[in-house]
């Protein structure tokens, strides 16, 4: 069974997904960061494939993309780093990236490699649903990859239903009109939107992302969905980390506020 399906079967609430950019802060940090997230109780690991022009990302993630590229990160190198990761962690892994580096790698080669190293799903923010259905769904399915769509407060009910119909992993709820890391705090208006989507009783689980940074915001949004995604705030932790492993441990435990034993 796909690790994403298994996760949502075993756990229905307070799922914590952590995003980081591959190759940041250092080129060889990918696997150590993943191991630290898994050990600290992160439920999903989302790895960003760095791109020169990340249009859905705010300054924090832009900067991590830029530095990762300067460090020499490429998709080929990332796959080499991920070889053997399944001997070390069992946490679901999702790759997040803009289309261009992936289509240059070759979509089928990319999907095949994802399956080979044990990637479970994809988040491709500049791949709209229609293009996914027309061009890529078949190959994603062939290699057992879950595709996650985004929805935002502007997404109409009809469109959310359609996205739900074509999703089979989880839906990524963008918490506000924003790029990543742009706003802090959760407003009543946002809670209304979370409630509205919750009441739609969708088939797929939902994770809320953009603007989640700490225990308070995590707890707050967790009441409206199956969990949340933290990206920019985690990148900030990495950028100031003195000792990567223990700083990641401290941060994730602070967000979750309990000791989670992931060894089982």
């Amino acid at each position: 069974m796909n690790r994403i399906d298994r996760l949502f079967q075993e756990k229905q609430e307070k799922i914590l997904s952590i995003y980081f950019t591959a190759g940041y802060p250092k080129i060889d940090d990918t696997l150590p960061i993943m191991e630290a997230i898994a050990a600290a109780g992160g439920d999903v690991i989302e790895i960003g494939i760095p791109f020169s022009d990340p249009i859905a990302d705010g300054p924090t993630i832009q900067e991590s993309n830029k530095l990762a590229l300067e460090n020499g990160m490429t998709l080929k190198l990332l796959f080499r780093q991920l070889e053997g990761m399944r001997e070390k962690i069992s946490t679901p892994v999702v790759l997040m990236g803009y289309l261009n580096p992936i289509i240059q790698y070759g979509m089928e080669a990319f999907c095949s490699k994802c399956q080979e190293v044990g990637v479970d799903g994809l988040i491709l923010p500049d791949l709209p649903m229609q293009q996914y259905l027309d061009e890529f769904k078949e190959v994603f399915d062939q290699y057992g990859l879950k595709n996650t769509f985004l929805i935002s407060p502007q997404t109409s009910e009809n469109r959310i239903r359609e996205i739900d119909r074509h999703s089979d992993g989880f839906i990524y709820m963008v918490s506000s009109h924003s790029i990543t890391g742009a706003k802090s705090g959760i407003s009543d208006q946002q809670l209304e939107y979370f409630q509205r989507v919750k009441d739609m009783d969708l088939n797929n689980p939902r994770l809320i992302g953009f603007g989640i940074s700490d225990h308070e915001s995590f707890e707050k949004v967790s009441g409206y969905a199956h969990g949340a995604i933290i990206g920019s705030a985690f990148i900030k932790v990495l950028s100031s980390a003195k000792e990567l492993k223990s700083d990641i441990q401290t941060y994730i435990q602070e967000v979750k506020k309990y000791n989670y034993d992931h060894s089982s």
Binding site: F51, S52, D53, P54, I55, A56, D57, G58, P59, Q62, K66, L69, T74, L75, K76, Y98, L99, N100, P101, I102, I103, Q104, Y105, P125, D126, L127, P128, M129, Q130, Q131, D134, F149, L150, I151, S152, Q154, T155, S156, R159, I163, V174, H177, S178, I179, A182
Partner: protein, 392 residues
């Protein structure tokens, strides 16, 4: 027939590869723009502004001394005489009227050299709309007069400080801003780039160029079709406008001129069809200058308006099917051609347009050929570059 299909593609190129957050905006445009711009009241408002405000139709001028030198009959389509100094305003007039019909309150735009920024700030002043222009930090430093023009016109100019700090990054910033404030904002893209329906919409607004050429050439030569039309291509909006009514006239050669910078293989150029391959940037699939790993590379051209790593999907298609001939003109040759036109005809062209002029030296034609060159802009903004160049 050459044109856009119902999925928003020109052959293999185009589409709308955008984050879901922009889906409602793009969908709103797609569903409404054709009906709005084909509406009679809209068209008469658009035409009136083009006549009384922009100064259209622009002349189709038989450049006798240039013709004599190059041994052909060369006409210049004088887009340089448009209000604000370039063809860019044809599109901004159209889009601001459209934004008003869609009930938008704010306008955002990207700019490289500042021509599109000025054209946008101008129409925002005209319509009393709030205007924010995103411009790369590097371009702000090298295009100071246009920055001040935008400010005098009442626009806010926001520096784009990410990436290479030029046009591509200004476009990224404008898109991010649109994601952050999607409901009341219209994004006026300045070229035939971006997600569907922008490339076709901008081309339609610019198509007035070839519409006029047909009428004017008929009057002067008794025929609507020249033997060839030459235009420079950065993103490609002036070329799209000059080619539009000739796409499906196979007897008209279409010559698209790209910036070859310091030489196509110098590592310092913007010759996308020579160096690029299929990629996705700013919402469309097109030819793109990029590394083997799919990172977009920073182009170079002496003219900021051609300094873009891609071309509009329509041009990628024209290249792909061989309908247009693509020529790369180097910085130094564009400068020579700009100075030559100044001396021969008393017209100082924008350095972008000077690329199109130099192409006469790089293509073959017959002595009695009728050639139309789209003179997309005037050289006032480039005075600093001409002065630095010095050889005049």
């Amino acid at each position: 027939m050459i044109g856009i299909d119902d999925k928003g593609f020109y052959g293999k190129f185009g589409g709308a590869y955008i984050p879901e957050m922009l889906h409602p905006n793009i969908e709103e445009l797609k569903q409404n723009y054709v009906a709005i711009i084909e509406d009679k009241a809209f068209q008469s408002q658009f035409d009136n502004l083009l006549t009384d405000y922009v100064g259209r139709p622009t002349p189709l001028y038989l450049a006798s001394r240039l013709s004599e030198k190059y041994k052909a009959k060369i006409y210049l389509k004088r887009e340089d005489l448009c209000h604000t100094g370039a063809h860019k305003v044809n599109n901004t007039i159209g889009q601001i009227l459209l934004a008003q019909k869609l009930g938008k309150k704010r306008i955002i735009a990207e700019t490289g050299a500042g021509q599109h920024g000025v054209a946008t700030a101008t129409v925002c002043a005209l319509m009393g709309m709030d205007c924010t222009i995103y411009m790369g930090e590097v371009d702000i430093a090298r295009q100071r007069p246009n920055v001040e023009r935008m400010k005098i016109l009442g626009a806010k100019v926001i520096p784009a400080s990410s990436g290479s700090k030029t046009l591509k990054d200004a476009t990224n910033e404008a898109m991010r801003q649109w994601i952050n404030d999607p409901v009341d904002t219209h994004y006026i893209i300045g070229s035939v780039v971006g997600p569907d329906p922008y490339p076709e919409m901008v081309a339609k607004f610019q198509s007035v160029i070839s519409k006029e050429i047909k009428i004017q050439l008929k009057e002067k030569e008794g025929r609507e079709n020249p033997d060839m039309v030459i235009a420079c291509v950065g993103g490609g909006s002036n070329a799209a406008g000059a080619f539009y009514h000739y796409y499906n006239e196979p007897d008209v050669r279409l010559i698209a001129v790209e910036a070859a910078g310091l030489g196509i293989h110098s590592g310092k150029s913007a010759a996308t069809t020579a160096l690029g391959k299929m990629g996705i940037l700013h919402g469309s699939k097109t030819l793109l200058m990029q590394t083997e790993d799919g990172q977009v590379v920073e182009p170079h051209s002496i003219s900021a308006g051609l300094d873009y790593p891609g071309i509009g999907p329509i041009h990628a298609h024209l290249f792909d099917i061989g309908r247009a001939e693509f020529v790369g003109v180097e910085d130094k040759h564009a400068m020579e051609a700009g100075i030559e036109l100044s001396k021969l005809e008393g017209i100082i062209p924008a350095i972008e347009s000077a690329h199109a002029l130099y192409a006469l030296n790089q293509i073959e034609y017959k002595p009695d050929d009728i050639i139309v060159i789209n003179l997309s802009g005037r050289g006032d903004k480039d005075l600093e570059t001409y002065i630095k160049w010095g050889k005049y």
